[in-house]
């Protein structure tokens, strides 16, 4: 009687979760894989910084060789205060990556609940949250960050907070869009018909289906935060010296650029590579996790 139905079943035997497909798509994207590997190396470098560098980044041990160009003993040369430049660059990655990741975590922590509320409840809640987002979009983030930075005179934690303050908007919008789209789906209605509370539905159905925008939002918030920190340090109101941070090193390096190019070039390249790697990795994740692939 109903056995005919089984004859038309598809032939796949193995369990293929949606995540599996995403993984397949991701591994097909060479740029993203390379970016991921580079990112991994950078993270390892940051963690093991003391192990791979000869001296401490603040140690002005090489004053006699100040401004020396790259050589065998000093791979990236020596800066104007006699510090080994290679060491400073490696330690600089610590600052950038920590700030990047922590700010991204905060962005997600703020963005997800707000996005979920706005997407699920709509109406006044949505209107209110959108107005708040509008406030944040109208003010150019860098200027506002500068203002806040000047207000609080920089400092590690403040910068993370500032970066999170401007990063949550993206995550919130992504989550909100996804939840709005899924809210009208019939499995949500079915859960409502079963008597599930809104919180249950958000927790059990909507958030798991929003994993993609959440991951993407998180990963793409990292380079934004890093750039913000670098910009603030570049302008002198970021992480204070003598902590090695790439933005600051670039700022100092510009003054010496015409003669001692290595002081400006190395931190610039370091920053560029890190930002590039994180962004390409994030893009790769987005393309892999988005089932409505555009243009592939």
């Amino acid at each position: 009687m109903t056995t005919e139905a089984i004859a038309i079943a598809p032939t796949t035997h193995r369990q293929r979760s949606p995540m599996w497909f995403a993984w397949r798509r991701f591994t097909g994207n060479k740029a993203a894989i390379i970016a991921g590997v580079v990112l991994g190396i950078l993270i390892l470098m940051a963690i093991f910084a003391p192990v791979i560098t000869p001296v401490s980044p603040e140690a002005q041990s090489f004053l006699t060789e100040a401004l020396a160009f790259p050589s065998a003993q000093h791979w990236f040369g020596v800066d104007n205060l006699g510090r080994d430049f290679y060491t400073r660059i490696v330690y600089g990655s610590r600052v950038s990556l920590t700030i990047g990741f922590t700010a991204a975590v905060f962005s997600v922590v703020i963005g997800i609940p707000l996005g979920a509320l706005a997407g699920y409840f709509g109406g006044k809640t949505d209107w209110f949250i959108m107005r708040v987002i509008e406030l944040f979009s109208v003010v150019p983030p860098l200027l506002a960050a500068m203002l806040l930075g000047a207000l609080t005179r920089g400092g590690y934690f403040t910068i993370i907070l500032i970066a999170a303050l401007f990063g949550w908007v993206n995550v919130c919008l992504l989550v909100r869009a996804q939840i709005k789209a899924f809210r009208e789906k019939e499995f949500v209605r079915a859960a409502q018909a079963l008597g599930a509370s809104p919180w249950y539905i958000i927790r059990r159905h909507l958030i798991p289906n929003s994993i993609s925008p959440i991951i993407v939002g998180f990963v793409l918030a990292i380079p934004l935060a890093m750039m913000l920190e670098a910009s603030l340090s570049f302008l002198g109101i970021g992480v204070p010296p003598p902590t090695a941070t790439w933005g600051q090193m670039i700022s100092e390096g510009i003054d010496f650029m015409f003669f001692y190019w290595h002081l400006a070039v190395f931190p610039t390249i370091a920053l560029a590579i890190t930002v590039l790697a994180t962004t390409l990795f994030g893009d790769g994740l987005r393309d892999a996790l988005d089932p409505t692939l555009k243009g592939r």
Partner: protein, 585 residues
């Protein structure tokens, strides 16, 4: 020389990890003026074959054929200019969903005119005049206004007519219609099919009608091609196919047209009805803004409606789009809040219950939806999906829940080991089975089924209806089956409620509705059903809304025992049979 000549056509698509063979060696030909119907379920390759004829397939398609000729020209080796001339001029195509077939940023007039201008040297003004003529020929009365309308401003039926006008604009020799009426209401479908036949005759074109609906085939074509899984199963004159099918698959298709079941027994009229909707209504406030002022108007989706679902019976709720049937179903489940009226489950009023009190009632009534794809959470396994109701109501331990879920998966006809699969791995019919399992696992007494089979293939449709019927008998369920298709309800329901524009216009036991329909709208619905056999095909006349209102049955005070009233109201004319009528003196 045949107009269309296809010999051994093969089409495959390159995809992730391999090829998919959509068409495996299909051959047929058509002469001028002939009509051919290609019938098959989804995945049969019928649309792909015709798209290949005009080279409309994406670049991922590999096409090969011994012969693929249109009007003598080899399509496979044709250059760009030849192809451009073939498309639109020699063969024109109309598609399933008219809303997505038009460019949203240009007016209808512009889009028809540009087709004309692409093939002939005409000025814009002349092209528009011709466009207007064409629109009139497809029975669009206010053609001049429509020229300036944008696609989103027209209804599905109107857009489909406009698409036909666009296809006819260059006097093609063959018209290819790819499921042109699948997305339309039954009465509109009948009108469009009649229109297609009319213009085919008037313009002397050949017609290829691609559809999954055998009724459409019976109405419109002379020859039939039956396709399954990329191959031709059977070919022949339409009467022969219907009366003496040779191939098993054809026989199966025809069988699903004629399924009939016995109605359910157990008349337990003493007990309270399983579900009762009293005076239920839904009104939406529509805000219109002009400047700073906001005007409100009321849209009555459902005017006060009474529906009774007796114990252990199946009631069909039938209507076209805009009738309010889905809204009524949603209100019964309190997924949409009624603006007025009461909902009674087993005699208890649940209209105003808070969510906590309502929760216990939720166990007694469940719903199955139309779109099986979005009915299942893509991130959950099947056993999780089916066990969810137990989870929400806290019944049993996690292991017990999984066990029960797997039991139910088996009960709806799927293998037990499917429990670890995800919804995207299943076909539409299989997903619908899972949705049914989820709905019934709590053992509800009422099931609302909102068009559960509308999106399914014909053979699968019959299976799902069979399953529902079986489960209903086993569990003593009371079912409210919402559908736009009278023929589906014929084989399933005990009684039928017909809705039109938010009101109930007729209500009767199923046999009565089909044998003795009183209301003009019910009659129109029945008229519109495509014939089950070509010998019953016929010309039809269609009633507009005014005509329906004008033909509202009239009964006297004596016949009905009610006070005279100019507004139509529901009047009982036989046991269990009510009609909306005007009571005169």
């Amino acid at each position: 020389m045949p107009l269309v000549e296809i010999a051994d056509l093969k089409v495959s698509f390159s995809q992730y990890g391999g090829q998919i063979d959509a068409v495996r060696g299909v051959s047929f030909s058509i002469n001028e003026g002939e009509s051919l119907g290609i019938v098959g379920e989804s995945g049969s390759g019928k649309s792909v074959s015709c798209a290949a004829l005009l080279r409309l397939l994406p670049a991922t398609a590999n096409i090969s054929a011994t012969s693929l000729k249109l009007d003598g020209i080899d399509v496979l080796t044709a250059n760009k200019e030849d192809l451009a001339r073939l498309r639109g001029r020699t063969a024109a195509m109309i598609f399933q969903d008219p809303m997505t077939a038009f460019d949203p940023v240009f007016t209808i007039g512009h889009q028809i005119a540009e087709t004309i201008q692409a093939h002939r040297k005409l000025s814009k003004r002349d092209a528009l005049t011709e466009a207007e003529q064409l629109l009139l020929r497809v029975e669009i009365k206010n053609a001049r206004d429509i020229l300036n309308y944008y696609p989103h401003q027209l209804s599905g039926g109107m857009l489909q007519r406009a698409m036909i006008a666009m296809a006819l604009s260059c006097r093609p020799k063959v018209l290819i219609a790819d499921e042109p009426t699948t997305a339309l209401d039954v009465t509109i479908q009948a009108q469009i099919l009649q229109l297609i036949k009319k213009v085919q005759a008037e313009f002397g074109m050949a017609l290829i009608m691609i559809t999954h609906d055998l009724g459409v085939i019976a109405e419109t074509v002379d020859r039939v091609l039956v396709m399954y899984n990329g191959e031709v199963m059977e070919q022949g004159p339409v009467q022969q196919i219907f009366d003496a099918p040779q191939h098993d698959y054809t026989k199966r298709l025809l069988a699903s047209l004629h399924t009939s079941f016995e109605p359910s027994r157990d008349d337990d009229t003493a007990a309270a009805p399983a579900l009762e909707l009293r005076n239920i209504a839904k009104t939406y406030r529509v805000k219109r803004r002009k400047g700073f002022a906001t005007t409100h108007s009321d849209f009555h989706a459902v005017r006060p409606v009474d529906i009774v679902l007796p114990r252990n019976k199946i009631v069909g709720l039938v209507g076209e789009s805009g009738s309010g049937k889905t809204t009524t179903g949603m209100m019964a489940m309190r997924l949409t809040e009624p603006t007025a009226g009461q909902i009674l489950v087993d005699g208890a009023d649940i209209t105003k219950l808070g969510s906590d009190d309502l929760k216990s009632f939720r166990r007694r009534m469940q719903i199955v939806f139309q779109d099986s794809y979005s009915a299942l959470d893509p991130m959950m396994t099947l056993s999780q999906i089916v066990a969810e109701p137990l989870n929400i109501h806290g019944i049993g331990t996690s292991r017990q829940q999984t066990e029960k879920a797997l039991d139910w998966i088996e009960r709806v006809g799927l293998p037990r080991n499917f429990g670890n699969r995800y919804s995207h791995e299943l076909s539409g019919g299989q997903r619908q089975r899972v949705a049914i399992a989820r709905a019934l696992i709590l053992g509800p007494s009422v099931l609302v089924a909102d068009e559960p089979t509308s999106a399914l293939d014909v053979t699968v449709k019959a299976q799902i209806i069979g399953l529902l019927k079986e489960l209903q008998a086993e569990m003593g369920l009371s079912m409210l089956f919402i559908s736009h298709d009278l023929s589906t309800v014929k084989s399933l329901t005990d009684s039928v409620v017909v809705m039109y524009r938010g009101r109930v216009v007729e209500q009767a036991p199923t046999a009565q509705i089909f044998a003795n329909p009183q209301h003009p709208y019910t009659r129109a619905l029945l008229e519109a059903i495509p014939a089950a056999n070509p010998r019953y095909k016929r010309e039809r006349t269609f009633l507009g809304a005014e005509a329906i209102a004008a033909q509202t049955p009239r009964f006297t005070v004596i016949q009905t025992g009610l006070a005279p009233n100019a507004t139509p109201q529901l009047v009982t004319i036989a046991p269990g049979h009510r009609v909306e009528a005007i009571v005169t003196t």
